[in-house]
């Protein structure tokens, strides 16, 4: 169980890196922590594990501040930065050192290396590892203490498609076993297949949170793509039904209406449909809408952006 309560972090200068962020993650679920780069995800996660002192608010794991846990790695598996391993140390040595602090058998380090698919590379130095291999090593280190909570910052970075699939399975299995997972990403596609809940953050503020189903339901697109055998006839039929349509480059029509009205209008005019679907991906649209000023004004001064969005 992870609980973040009114967490705020200011780096002097008055700019809030994290602004009154609250959310909880329940056992048995995977929570996706989503937002564009620089939105405050990493700062929130670092505050959660005590690396960054919050300006106000607090974060707890199972009701206890992370830094007050006797041996935190035995309760919370954390991977915040796969690059934060010494390049001159072997993968095996890295995990053996952690095993000593965690108080688990040294043999568990080898078991973890095998579990994350690094058997055969354990005697190589981390310097020689690809980013994907470092992510695997970091995940192995996070699981070393047999924790009940996992906190991973952008774990899919650098993983190949097979690795991303492996990680999805791992997170699902971990949650199925009653574990709590908090996983951050700046890419919706990466997490949408895996997570039960989403917390969307932008400019340090939570802009949306809820179950995937809730968010999808509240983000139904307001336009429909329809393609007919006779585009002109279909366009006329829709216009007659009071549904003006825009002709797209590919010959389909974009209609500001719901799917059912468009379908009925086509049926009434006996128009043959080849395609009828909501325009775009609702959740993805929502994500971009919630965080879009970032993409639109990437070159603008961030303080100016904050004023605009406020």
């Amino acid at each position: 169980m992870i609980s973040v309560e009114n967490l705020t972090k200011s780096y002097g200068s008055g700019r809030l890196s994290v602004d009154d962020v609250s959310f909880t993650c329940a056992p048995g679920t995977v929570t996706g922590f989503l937002g564009p780069n620089g939105a405050g995800k990493s700062t929130t996660l670092r505050a959660l594990v005590g690396l960054t002192p919050p300006t106000s608010g607090r974060a707890t794991v199972n009701g206890v501040r992370y830094a007050d846990l006797p041996n935190p790695g035995r309760v919370v598996g954390v991977m915040l930065d796969a690059a934060a391993q010494h390049p001159g140390r072997t993968g095996r040595e890295t995990l053996r050192l952690a095993a000593t602090i965690l108080g688990v058998r040294p043999g568990r380090a080898d078991a973890m290396l095998e579990m994350v698919g690094l058997q055969g590379a354990e005697k190589r130095r981390v310097r020689e590892y690809s980013l994907g291999m470092r992510q695997r090593l970091g995940i192995g280190a996070a699981l070393l203490g047999d924790p009940s909570v996992l906190v991973l910052d952008e774990p899919a970075n650098g993983l190949d498609p097979e690795g991303i699939r492996w990680m999805r399975g791992l997170l699902r299995d971990f949650a199925s076993g009653g574990g709590t997972v908090l996983v951050s990403s700046h890419l919706l596609r990466e997490v949408e297949a895996t997570v039960d809940r989403l917390v969307v953050i932008d400019h340090g503020r939570v802009v949306a949170q809820g179950t995937m189903a809730d968010l999808v339901a509240h983000s139904a697109p307001d336009a429909v793509v329809v393609r007919g055998l006779d585009p002109a006839g279909l366009g006329a039929a829709l216009l007659a039904a009071g549904l003006p349509a825009d002709r797209q480059d590919d010959g389909s029509l974009l209609v500001r209406a719901d799917v059912e009205s468009v379908g009925r209008a086509a049926l009434d005019a006996r128009q043959v449909l080849l395609e009828l679907r909501p325009a775009g991906d609702g959740l993805e649209d929502l994500f971009f809408r919630l965080t879009s000023h970032d993409a639109a004004g990437a070159s603008l001064d961030p303080t100016h952006l904050q004023e605009v969005s406020a």
């Binding site: 790695g73 915040l80 930065d81 010494h86 390049p87 140390r89 000593t100 108080g103």
Partner: protein
């Protein structure tokens, strides 16, 4: 050791959750100082330079076969390189960004920094003992070759002095490393800053120079020569060890780790 016998009989299940002891943290930090090529190279260079110095003396020394003099010569590389061990212990994790991993695993930063310091002192004293032995062996060999008598002097104060000067150099390195938190900058600061301050003070108010001269203070301490200049002893120690260490630890505990 007893730890080994208990770990053999541990059950397959995960053992109880306990706070890592200070001894465990120190053991881990000690291992971290010797399990990379950079750490091993530093130790090897330190010992090999001492061997080279003693080897040179073993072939050339005609007189002055005293352990005191030999050990002082053999210790030059140690006194120059031990501070680097201290600096690396306190600063390298910030430089390598592994501080993030270390302080996530053990959020009580002062305990970790204490373990790092203890590990550096243990390692430094081990190196000093090795160099003591190298110097002794070289001296004995030269004495046999020349068929001359060797003087060992007051072994207690000779060995004690060697340990004190090694420890002081290492501790000051650790203090500068803790303050600067950047390995390369800290090494430069260690060798440059005390001399710059000494020059500045000597050129403006020359009578105050002994009050900031850390090398002089270290020399007195390693000869156990304390009386008559306690103030000139304590001030450089405060200035170059206590203050940087205190400020460095204070910053380390508070700073944002990223």
């Amino acid at each position: 050791m007893t730890a080994v016998t208990t770990s053999v009989s541990l059950p397959a299940t995960t053992p109880a959750i306990r706070r890592p002891s200070f001894a465990t943290l120190t053991r881990v930090e000690l291992r971290k100082m010797v399990d990379t090529r950079a750490g091993q190279a530093l130790l090897a260079v330190t010992v090999l330079l001492s061997v080279a110095v003693v080897g040179y003396l073993s072939f050339t020394a005609r007189d002055g076969l005293s352990y005191d003099a030999w050990l002082r010569d053999a210790s030059y590389p140690v006194v120059a390189l031990l501070p680097v061990i201290g600096i690396l212990a306190m600063a390298s994790e910030w430089t390598q960004r592994t501080a993030l991993t270390t302080f996530t695993l053990t959020p009580r930063r002062l305990r970790v920094l204490g373990a790092k310091f203890t590990a550096a002192v243990v390692l430094g004293l081990l190196v000093t003992v090795v160099v003591d032995v190298i110097a002794a062996v070289g001296l004995v060999v030269r004495g046999l070759v020349l068929n001359a008598d060797v003087t060992w002097g007051n072994l207690g104060s000779v060995l004690g002095g060697s340990a004190v000067s090694a420890a002081l150099a290492l501790v000051m390195g650790a203090a500068i490393g803790a303050l600067v938190m950047q390995t390369a900058v800290a090494i430069v600061a260690y060798f440059v800053a005390p001399n710059v301050v000494l020059l500045a003070v000597a050129s403006t108010m020359s009578d105050k120079a002994p009050w900031v001269d850390v090398n002089e203070a270290f020399g007195w301490l390693s000869r156990f020569d304390v009386s008559g200049h306690v103030g000139q002893l304590v001030t450089p120690l405060l200035l170059w060890i206590a203050v940087p260490f205190g400020v460095g630890l204070w910053r380390s505990v508070r700073r944002n780790v990223s």
